[in-house]
Every structure is written in structure tokens, then in C-alpha cells.
Amino acid sequence: MTTIADPHKESFRLSMLLNDTRYRSLTFQFIALVAIIATMAFIGGNLVRNLAEAGLNISYDFLGAQAGYDINQRPISYDSQDTHGRAAMVGLLNTLIVAVLGCVTATIIGVVAGVLRLSPNWLVRKIMAFYVEIFRNVPVLIWILIIFSIMINATPAPRAFRGDNATASMWLFDSIAVTNRGVYLPAPIWGPGSLLVVGVFLASIVGIFMYRRYARKQLFDHGKMVPTFWPSVALFFIPAILAQIVLGSPITLDYPALKGFNFQGGAQIRGSLIALWFALAIYTGAFIAENVRAGILAISKGQSEAAGALGLRPGRIMNLVILPQALRVIIPPLISQYLNITKNSSLAIAVGYMDLTGTLGGITLLQTGRAIESVLLLMLFYLIISLAISFFMNIYNNSMKLKER
């Protein structure tokens, strides 16, 4: 019988910290820690000295001070008497508004353009390729400025709508006015009982989901194809409209009308918001189109051939076979495009749309001189938004991912 002797216990030597792989990584990390602390000491020391020299200190008290500036596009009530903190909140909401609008529009544009780039129609294919290349290869800032100039210069002034021989006219039965001061839309007035109409509308949306679920169950359990598209459309519109009629029109529209030198009433959307929104949507849409195209091309041809062999029609093949698989390829890059829109929305400052960068990083920073505090807070806000978007989109991505068993 052989016995395995214990390996010779080496006594610990200092050189082992460097030459022995067991200890070396610890040594390196220790050195890195010391280096980080030294850097902190260097930066922090400089900061404290520079601040002391400039007679400043780090304090967030300015957020409670009176802002004293106006914000022209405000989703919540705000006036110049309010605090800087409230101004920052308005800015944050404005950022979120343009980000959400941009994401939705960019997705629609991107999916349409991406699918059309694979169209059998030569002309359409070429136009879409042209669109994608033009928009991808020119900075988004230039696009924002170009669309902003269109909104300011190529649209009529409110006075052009006046008089008998007006050079400009409103769209859609005098309900929408596109002027160089912004776009005026009808705004809803919430009369008594309107809550009920909204309730009916929300209920019908829940109904649509329930109905689709039922149709799916019918298909899987009994093999019956229940139509879903038209019933969904009907469910979407009919109950709410019925409720509106039955309750005697509780929701009315406030139409914009020319009074004096400007339009009054309705809701005004500034040219800056429109420029930012469309520029972001069209620019990012070009990138999304490429992602969609790549996703569809990534599905092997055998899939559509097999579906065709089963007797499915082209529309069904796209909806039931190709797109669900392509979606798995498309979603991860789509997440980063949404993040890009959110981050690029900070370019609002170039056209004077008061988003987070325009309020907190713009006027508040200039008025209070609190550069460090404002920029840090600004970064923190964007970081939180970005992390939140990637968190929720990753949940969605995981639910769509191929479940491997």
C-alpha cells in the first residue's frame, strides 16, 4: 500500500505575494485599492481647496430657492415663483415626455422602414435604403436644428390665418393650426361624468386583452381560428363612443381659435418639442430599421418555406412564424436604441425645449452658479432613467427569450 504524503508545507515568504498565483491577485487588488484611495485624496483635496479659494461650498439648498424663470412647456403647474427643485421636476417630466413620444414613433417608423427595406418592390426598397443611410450618417443635432428651422421658418405666422384672403388655413375641419409659434391642437374639457367614459374606455381595453386570450385558448384547445383584428378595433372604439353619446357628451373639445395676434384655447405644442420629437424619432428610426431588417434576415429561409409548406398565407407566415422569432433578435438592440433616445433627448437644450438639461443643467446652473451640484444631480437623474429603462426592458426581453429546456 502506498501512502500519499502530505505535500511539503511551504513556509510563507514575502516573495510569494508576487510570484504565487494564489496570493498575487490579492496583492494586485490591494495595490489597486491603495491607488483608488490615493486618487480620491488627490481629487478631493483639489476640490476642497478650489472651492475654499472660490468661496463656495457644496450644498443642495438652492433646490428650495425661488427659480425666477419661466418654462414655456410645462406638464405640471409651474411659474417663476416656484423653486428650482420644482423646475427640475418639470424638466424631468419634459424629458420623459419627449423620450416616450420619441420611442413610440421611432419604433413605428423603424419597423415600417425595416420591413419595407425587404420589400420585393425595387423603388420602395431603394427609397428606404436612402432614408436609412441619410439619417444614420448625419449627426442628430443637425437633424434637430433642420427640423426646428422648418418649424420656425417654413410654417405660417398666426396672422397669416386672419382675414378673408388668409394665406394659411387650419387642418382637419379647423381643429389643428400649424404656426411658427407651435402647433395648436384641440384640448379635451373634462365635464361631469367624463370619468365614466374614461372608465368604459379602460374597461374595453382590458376587454380586448381578455378577448384575445379567449381567441388564443380557442385556437390551442379546439383548433378554431377566431378573428381577432376587427373585434379588437370595434372593442376599442364602440363602447367609449357609446358611453359618450349615452351620457350626453361629457367630454368636449376646446378648439384653438385665432384671437388677437395669436391662437387661444386648445393645447399648444411648441416647435421645439416637435423638432426634438421628430428628429429623434426619424434618426433613431433609421437605426431601428436596420435592427429590424437584420432580425428578419436572421431567421433562416427554411422557416418561411416550412410555414409555406404547411399552407399558411404570406401574411400569416410573417405574423405567426417570422416576427415572433425575429423579435428575439430585435429586442436587445432595441433596448439600447431606447436608451439612446433618452440620452439624446438632452440635446433639447439646442432648441430651447426645457427638459432636464435645459432647466437643471441650463438656467438653474447659470443662475445659482452651483455647477458641481447641478451637474451631479443631472447625471444622477439620467443614470436612474437609463437603469430603469434597461431593467424593465430586460424583464421583457427575458420573457420573450427562447425558453431552453
Binding site: F28, G45, N46, P120, V124, I142, V375
Partner: protein, 515 residues
């Protein structure tokens, strides 16, 4: 037999009829149009709609181009010449060409310098972009930054040349100590350098500890956050103080101990040499050389750079700096050491989570507070630092993808050959990972180049800044939009489109897998 047949049948064809051409609708242009434009009801509608829009666009744009005025001194004059007709005022491009391309402060008699630098950039980039060119051209690529610096910023040629010389000297010191000199002598060198470094480090840490106490005391203990920060700074200070002497001894010993293989000591020695050379030798040497043989160009300050040149400058410098940094970050993120990995992850995710414009704000208003009061980094340098950090984080993610795409067998094969981490990374892992990541890196580079227009927001006069500032605010060219923005868009399109076409070509070249 055939004779009888010939008598019974009136006519026998002896040659084959030539195939008749396909019907008109099934050949040539008609067939192509039918198949590609009008293959069904839906397609026909699409085609007609598309033709309608293209025609509308052409009708709108063509006269604008055709009637364009190229010679005028102001927008008013343009409108007078056009006399009510639709037409562009391209005269603004002619009039302000220099401003658009070079900025409005660069000395006009120095424009040739920018042009030469640009042409040489193409020459320098060529061997890096096309593998078929002779490798010796890479020497010029390595030399180019120094030449370009001299051409663009001016001053004495000896300044960049001396820097180059000192860098070469540093490399020579490294080579010399790592291999050339005998072990006995190297032991003495190691002892001396180890001693210097050990004492220096201990001293630095001691200063650092004092500095941390100073910070902690000025933070104070008012409020919860301040109290926490106070505590953290004190803990770090105690840490630095306790370890200053042991760290010094340990690092000194480690440097001394490495005399046999020469690795660490040669790195430290060359770094020490570089520090001494750049702080004490650089200025005397280049001034002396310049007084003997003066080769000078008119010096131009960084703040005088502008126009499209500034975009190109920022793009080129930041991309070339951020690739090495990105590689380091990606390797750090893959590292098994939790602290180093953590630092890299936090840095990358933080940078990727905030917009570039906030980093430019940092460069504009904040960075000065973090640097010693006597240092005067100009704005362009601070912007270069921030943009480089920004794109390095994105490039790191691209390279991380490349590293993750490598089969595990490559790492294991490198290990089984007995290569250490440095060798395996340098010889096996990085060449393959970088090859996979090149298209991604080029994408980041294109994005970065487009993002250089953001500097116009912190009031630097790049192409967009020039347009929005001096040109549209001038009395002659106020409210000229389409011509200047279109021109800007065209410049960016040409550059970015060429780069992305190159990237696609390269992807096909590098695609060695068998599909």
C-alpha cells in the same frame, strides 16, 4: 429508304428553328418593371405612392438647386438676384467657406498646414486600414501624431520631436534593463530603484493620508450624508496612514525581487526615467535644439480651432485614444479580481448611463475644480479627456463582446501552452477578439464622430457652432438655414458613409469562417 421517304413527304426541315424571342412583356426592361414594380395590386399602389412622393420632392428641390445663387455678399443680395423665384443661396458657402472648414480664428495663411495634416492623415491611416499595404508604412503612422501636432498647433518642430525622442529613449531604457545588462548589475539597479520607489510611495501615501484628514475635516459632520462621507474619508485616511510604510517596503522589495526576470524593475525604471525626462529634460532640450536650428510655424492656441476641422480633430484624437483605454477596461471587466472588475463595471455603466452632453458640462464647468489650481488645461483638452472616456466605455463593451465570443478552448489552449496572462492576452486572445470587434468599434467611431457636434452646445465653434454662432448671427447671413445645414449634413454624410462602407468591406475581408 430515305429516297422513298423523300418522295412521299413534300418537305423535311433539316435545321432547327432558332428560338423565337420571349414576348415583350417577359423580357428586358418591361419584365424587370413588371416583376419589381408592378407585381401585384399592393405593389402597384406602393410604387405609385412612391413615385408621387419622389416627384413632389424633385419638383420642390430641383429648382432650388438649379436656381441657386453662388455669388452674392449677403442674403438680401441673393433674394434680389433670385427676384422672387425659388432658389438656394449657396453664396453663403462660398463667402464663409473658410469659417465653415477652419473656424474663424485660425490664421488664414496657415490653412495649408491643416490641409497637409489632413492629407498625411489619410496616408498614415492607410496601412492601419488596409492590410495589403506594406507594414513598414506603420512607422509613418507612429510618427504622424507628432507631425500633425506640429502642423496644426504650430510652434517649434523640435518640441514634438523631442517628445518622440524621449519616448524612444524610455523604450530603450526598458529594453536595456529587461534583457541587456548582466544580472549582478541588475540586482544593484533593482535595489536602488526599489529603494527610491518604496520611499517615494510611502511619502505619497503619507501626504494622501494628511490630505484625506483635511478633506474629512472640511466636509464636517452636519447632516447625514456629510457624516457618512466624514467617516469614509477618515477610514481611508487611517488606511493610507497605517499602510504607507508597509506598502513602501513591500513595493520596494517587489521591485528589488524582480531583478532576475527583469520584468517589474524594467517597467518601473522606464517609468521613473520618463518622469524625470519629461519634467526636467524636455524643455531644455527642445529649446536648445530650436535655438541651434530654428524650425518654427506660427503657434495657434487650442481655442482658435474651429469649423469642420475641429470635428475631425476631436474625432480622430478621441477614437485613437479610446481604443487602448477601451481594451484595458474590457480586460478589467473580464478580470477574476473583484475589486478591479468592480471598478471597471461601475465606470463603464456610469458612462453609458449618462448623456455625452452632461460629460461635456463636466469638462466645461466642473473638471477645473478637480485639478490642482495651478494646472491650466484648456477647454479643448478637457473636452478631449471627457469624450475619450465616453467612447472608451462604449468600445470596452464592444470588445467585451469580442472576448466573450471567443471559444473557451482558446483560453485553455493558451494556458496549456504555459503562457502567462500577459502572453496569452497579447498573443492569443486579443488578436482574435479585436478581429471580431472591428465592425463594432467602427460603429462606435462613427457615432463618436457625429457626437463631436455636441461641443457646439458648450460654446465651442465646431461646424455646427460656426453655423449657429458667427454665420447665422451675422447681419449678412441671418436666416440662412437650408444651405448651411445641408452643407454640414453633406460633410458628415460623406465621412460617415465612407467609414461605414469601409467597415462592411473589412467585415467581408475578415470573414474567414466557411458559410
Amino acid at each position: 429508304m430515305s429516297d422513298t421517304h423523300a418522295q412521299t413527304v413534300a418537305f423535311v426541315r433539316e435545321t432547327q428553328i432558332p428560338p423565337s424571342p420571349p414576348p415583350v412583356t417577359e423580357a428586358g426592361a418591361v419584365k424587370w418593371v413588371r416583376e419589381n414594380l408592378f407585381s401585384g395590386v399592393f405593389n402597384t399602389v406602393l410604387t405609385l405612392v412612391a413615385i408621387y412622393f419622389v416627384a413632389r420632392f424633385a419638383v420642390f428641390v430641383f429648382p432650388w438647386f438649379y436656381n441657386g445663387v453662388w455669388e452674392a455678399s449677403s442674403r438680401k443680395e441673393c433674394l434680389d438676384i433670385l427676384d422672387g423665384a425659388t432658389g438656394a443661396c449657396f453664396a453663403v458657402l462660398v463667402d464663409r467657406w473658410d469659417h465653415l472648414v477652419f473656424g474663424f480664428k485660425y490664421p488664414p495663411d496657415g490653412y495649408w498646414r491643416i490641409l497637409v495634416a489632413f492629407i498625411l492623415l489619410v496616408v498614415a491611416a492607410a496601412p492601419a486600414l488596409f492590410a495589403s499595404l506594406p507594414r513598414k508604412l506603420l512607422f509613418f503612422t507612429a510618427f504622424y501624431p507628432f507631425l500633425a501636432f506640429w502642423l496644426i498647433w504650430g510652434g517649434s518642430l523640435w518640441f514634438p520631436l523631442t517628445i518622440l525622442g524621449l519616448i524612444i529613449a524610455t523604450v530603450l531604457v526598458f529594453r536595456l534593463i529587461s534583457a541587456q545588462i548582466p544580472v549582478n548589475f541588475r540586482q544593484i539597479v533593482s535595489a536602488v530603484i526599489g529603494g527610491i520607489c518604496g520611499i517615494g510611495l510611502a511619502y505619497l501615501l503619507f501626504i494622501g493620508a494628511k490630505e484625506l484628514v483635511f478633506i474629512a475635516n472640511s466636509v464636517g459632520t452636519e447632516g447625514a450624508i456629510a457624516t457618512i462621507a466624514y467617516g469614509v474619508f477618515w477610514v481611508m485616511a487611517v488606511f493610507a496612514f497605517v499602510f504607507c510604510v508597509p506598502m513602501g517596503i513591500f513595493v520596494g522589495y517587489a521591485i528589488y525581487n524582480s531583478f532576475e526576470d527583469g520584468g517589474l524593475v524594467s517597467i518601473v525604471a522606464s517609468l521613473l526615467f520618463a518622469y524625470v525626462a519629461f519634467s526636467f529634460l524636455l524643455a531644455p532640450i527642445w529649446m536648445a535644439l530650436n535655438s541651434v536650428v530654428p524650425i518654427e510655424l506660427e503657434a495657434v492656441a487650442s481655442r482658435d480651432m474651429g469649423g469642420f476641422m475641429l470635428n475631425m480633430l476631436l474625432g480622430t484624437i478621441c477614437v485613437s485614444l479610446s481604443v487602448p483605454l477601451g481594451i484595458l477596461l474590457a480586460l478589467g471587466r473580464q478580470s477574476p479580481m473583484p475589486l478591479i472588475k468592480g471598478v471597471c463595471v461601475v465606470f463603464i455603466e456610469f458612462i453609458r448611463g449618462v448623456p455625452l452632453i452632461t460629460l461635456l458640462f463636466v469638462a466645461n464647468v466642473m473638471l477645473a475644480y478637480f485639478l490642482p489650481p495651478e494646472s491650466n488645461f484648456d477647454l479643448i483638452l478637457r473636452v478631449i479627456i471627457m469624450i475619450t472616456l465616453f467612447s472608451a466605455a462604449y468600445i470596452a463593451e464592444v470588445i467585451r463582446g469580442g472576448l466573450a465570443a471567443l471559444p473557451k478552448g482558446q483560453y485553455e489552449a493558451a494556458d496549456s501552452l504555459g503562457l502567462n496572462y500577459n502572453q496569452a492576452t497579447r498573443l492569443i486572445i486579443l488578436p482574435q477578439a479585436l478581429k471580431i470587434s472591428i465592425p463594432g468599434i467602427v460603429n462606435v467611431a462613427v457615432g463618436l464622430f457625429k457626437d463631436t457636434t455636441l461641443v457646439s452646445i458648450i460654446s465651442m465653434f465646431d461646424l455646427v457652432g460656426m453655423i449657429r454662432g458667427p454665420i447665422q448671427n451675422s447681419t449678412e447671413w441671418t436666416s440662412v438655414y437650408w444651405e448651411v445645414y445641408g452643407f454640414g449634413a453633406l460633410l458628415f454624410f460623406v465621412v460617415c458613409y465612407s467609414i461605414s462602407q469601409y467597415s462592411q468591406w473589412l467585415e467581408r475581408q475578415l470573414n474567414t469562417s466557411h458559410h
